[in-house]
């Protein structure tokens, strides 16, 4: 496809993120609450501080960070069944919440958290592709806000967060690498990749899937390059929002 005729459905440039907004304090009870909007994908990330740890950590003097994920039944184009009514979480839901938890733990020094759990709930209010990436990016901010509060209140003396983490998708659409796919692109791409990176540019998770046919090393490399760029922008937005939330 000639370069100059390539057109994303949204009109975005191949390396352009959707409009991202990070709104701290969307709800009032959680120790850290953030509504992240990536275009039409809206995820509410609530970080709760629980004064307990899972059984396998009891008495070990360290903390835990974990996440749960859910989609409101009509966050999607057509209504999905409510998982609570079906009586179980889908494989996809479990896969995503395990990914969010691992991604956050990669930037936590759990020994500095004390015997408590930071439990982040990521609930998708509206979905338009990329909900797992938005969840990770928002969850980190919600966690950081909750941790700041613990430090302000003197509950923690030392910051257990050793860096930032964010996530973005990239994909091959009509043979072309693009950043931050929306639902329409996600449904028709040849391959998509979710990449979780620290603010310093290290890989935390790389998950790529060929949807149509297998892709080659060069395609992989171009997807990686786009991701690094997107993560850099997201990191900037996270730190700005955290600064504002903490009155700096």
């Amino acid at each position: 496809m000639p370069e100059n005729t390539f057109q994303r459905p949204s009109g975005r440039a191949p390396d352009q993120l959707r409009n991202i907004s990070l709104e701290p304090g969307f709800t009032r009870h959680a120790e850290g609450s953030v509504l992240i909007r990536a275009g039409d994908t809206h995820v509410l990330c609530n970080a709760s501080v629980l004064e307990k740890v899972p059984p396998f950590l009891k008495g070990k003097g360290q903390g835990w960070v974990t996440a749960e994920y859910g989609m409101l039944p009509r966050s999607t184009h057509t209504r999905s069944d409510r998982e609570a009514a079906k009586g179980k979480q889908s494989g996809r839901t479990q896969e995503i919440q395990r990914l969010i938890g691992r991604s956050l733990r990669a930037v936590f020094d759990l020994s500095l958290l004390g015997e408590r759990t930071l439990h982040i709930d990521c609930d998708v209010l509206q979905a338009d592709g990329g909900t797992r990436c938005a969840s990770i990016t928002g969850a980190w901010l919600a966690s950081a806000i909750a941790v700041q509060r613990l430090m302000r209140e003197g509950i923690l003396q030392q910051d257990p967060i050793i860096g930032s983490v964010a996530a973005v998708s990239t994909g091959l659409v009509d043979g072309r690498a693009v950043l931050d796919l929306d639902y329409q692109e996600d449904s028709s791409c040849d391959a998509d990749m979710n990449i979780v990176m620290t603010g310093e540019g290290g890989f935390v998770e790389v998950q790529g899937t060929a949807e149509g046919r297998a892709f080659d090393r060069q395609a992989l490399d171009s997807l990686m390059d786009l991701a690094r760029q997107g993560i850099a922008s997201l990191t900037r937005l996270q730190l700005e929002a955290l600064g504002k939330a903490s009155g700096r």
Copy 2:
């Protein structure tokens, strides 16, 4: 207690509702979407039109209206377990969603709906008491917006909605009848009552519970009087919001 020393925690008068706001179009996929805020209680009500009916209605030429209810885990002061993760809905959840469904059906002529289901999801984003009442009030508006759309699109010729319905709580706090309890009042009241009424003032559901000790007929009567007053205000707000949503 002398009349003049009575003081609600919120400073409201005994017959004063919380600030109510009804925001249509909060999400974009649902045929009808409303965020209702009653003070710090925020419930997202999404009405979905499904082209199917439950098995017991198949082939009967009529429709169905039903509801599901959920609370986000950190909508509450302390985090509650996620029902999808526990693998079942609590008795309280089921009780509330059955109530919402019955309340809506009371103002629907199901034979005019055709063989389709109006499925309303009420999800509590933030809770401060009175979530089931807010759900009913918001769900009616979301349903009405969805029905207007069906009529506008020519899918329905005749309006299956035969009236409005709204709900409000009343309760006895320190022996005094008050309207629209928030969480703090709800936790300490002697009795509370959830009343569902049509816009024309007919009772649809009356659910009163003595929390501390049994209450007498006179108390019941004063709770009923307050409710009628509250429902009248809510009905006005519903109709205003519906007018705006439909561009009238």
Copy 3:
């Protein structure tokens, strides 16, 4: 409808209860066992004394009263699926057992019960309408018999029961208020109300539902009046049966 042509299917007067029988000792293992028959509705109420309390009460020096409810699969006109086989209790079942528990706790001073639980099982052997009301009326008697036994055995020094409680349904059939609906009336009424009252005439629970169309305040008042009358009779029968059971 002219007064003189009104006819209940059972031939009862509008304010007439069904034949009520309370048979203590129907089974031998429970600390309190009562078979209540209200016409063709037969509910076995077994009160068990358990030397433990639920987790949220551990170490608080008080007791708990709770109830479970079930219907035998063929207690009904057509067979219903067995809840144990389906793997969950229906919303209706949970709603009813929560109601029974709340109703009993309204007449218990739990601090006088010690750290033990009074667990009442209400199992419907045969159903003909009004099973939740019969369950409450029978459950109170079973509880009272169990408590008498604890006092007789010196396990309790002071009676934790501070009054009696009973329940009855009322409803609007063809625009006319009637007491204690059987299945046939229940299936065709315009509104029905389950009212739980103490023996002294205080309201514990009021649950009214419009089945067809909303009802007005006057109808509500007449349903309340009938209920008070029915509860008075049920209270008399409960106390008589308790007297006999305790050999007084």
Copy 4:
């Protein structure tokens, strides 16, 4: 142990059944309803005629006979958890209901039943040992009553029941073979055996278990002899009760 000092807790002779009573019509909705009492073991057996068959039999022109079994939570000496509340049936429950179903099918010509199911619910109201045997004996009578009704109503032309079936337990108590163990004997026996036989004396099921130590062939033989005797008595009682129920 010298023969003459052997004493069963109940005072019964080694080959003596408990008092057996078979009460047809205990509930009114089931097509066949029997309360069987074997001493203090009371089981309500309700046979329902369902105009459907399980999926694996659809369109095969034959019927099905199946059973479900349950114990009321306080049918036992101490309260057991309700299976519907736990969300699953125990292995014991499933084992017993499979046994009841197989036992009944052994005396049914399913091709004569048409495409319908005879579903028998055996619910233990009070337990004192031997509930599975009582269930089988009672279930056969309930089934036979239901079948008679189908024939009387002309729904069946030919009797699908080709014989009677009953069950009894035998066991080794202090080295001595005894018939029809109650709970006290069952808890302390060396071996127990549940034997299901047709009225004509053929074996349908034989289930023997060594509780303490393995038993020898001679013991097995004496248990079999006792069972045959017990089954003969039970068969007589079944046929008598069936005759009365059918007005013969």
Copy 5:
């Protein structure tokens, strides 16, 4: 049927077992691991030593022996649903694993095991009839190997196993008693019996079921005779294999 024309599908003599092989050490992690092959029925029996007991035995100074059973989805002629995916074990599975556990406990002195559990997993890799019997026979050997290891390591001073146990099926095929039925015979037999016996010839469990029509005492006796013979052979093979496994 004339004696001389009787022919088993496998060509075996009526009293002939299938080829039995017992392969210790089939997997490496379990304290005792045995692959038992009875013809085309292959069951992997893994005995695990767990340093805990079930709640009802805590603090009683004795151990426990229990078993679980499963079939790989395609161990059978046509694929069966995976129980883990269905979310529950079938009644058949539970019945079998309860049987295996009881059979093993019959030859264990649990007080000599200490507060630990011997947990045996019997997983059918390939099924051709008789899986429960093969499981018991293999599970005993796996248990014995695990116990030998505990003794060798000095964890146990005294052998808690007081004898061997094995199981075999017998059945009536075309009126003729045969030993050790394979799937084809099992599917078409008139009656089948699973018999669990100690190496010394005592009965532990006897489970006989008439598939077609009831069988008489003489048939029962001939099935018992065949079983005794089969158990004797199995016991010999078990002891040989144990001897080899322990280097004797």
Copy 6:
């Protein structure tokens, strides 16, 4: 770490696979059955041909390929709970079986399969790291054997398999990239990556996770290089085994 002192626990070179064996026909009922051994990791892969498709594909004239995964409870160093007994599959299990299914579908032309499902069961008999990769490699072979059989039997005219697929893990151990981690390496590595590739060298899935700290692009590249090499060897072994299985 100096190059020359680097030592893998197994003594393998950094780019050396474990001993791989592929044993077709390990069980007899499945249309394709393969036991794959990668060192001490042993997975039984059974491919079943089912003459049905999932509901979302009914009537679309195409087939489906799906997989299920399970670990025998004592395939691991310490016993894990049986998922069938717990009543649900873990998130990890679901994640893995979704991965296996996706990987296989990447090399299938489902329109050539007809309305049937190829259902592959991957059951881990013994685990020593890398079970998901072994499952994919073995599942492809089992599928190919099953498809060959369908073609030999004339059920399929055209081969729906458009290429081979295999999987291997790579990881960073002490800063050094190694191929095909065993359990010991897997437990202590800094990062591990599971890579699924076609026989022609295209990427199907790439899943990398930083266990300790984030890794950089160079490390990623070296993991990719190793993987390509490992996949090439596995592909050769798959094709050899397939040739033998089909008698070529």
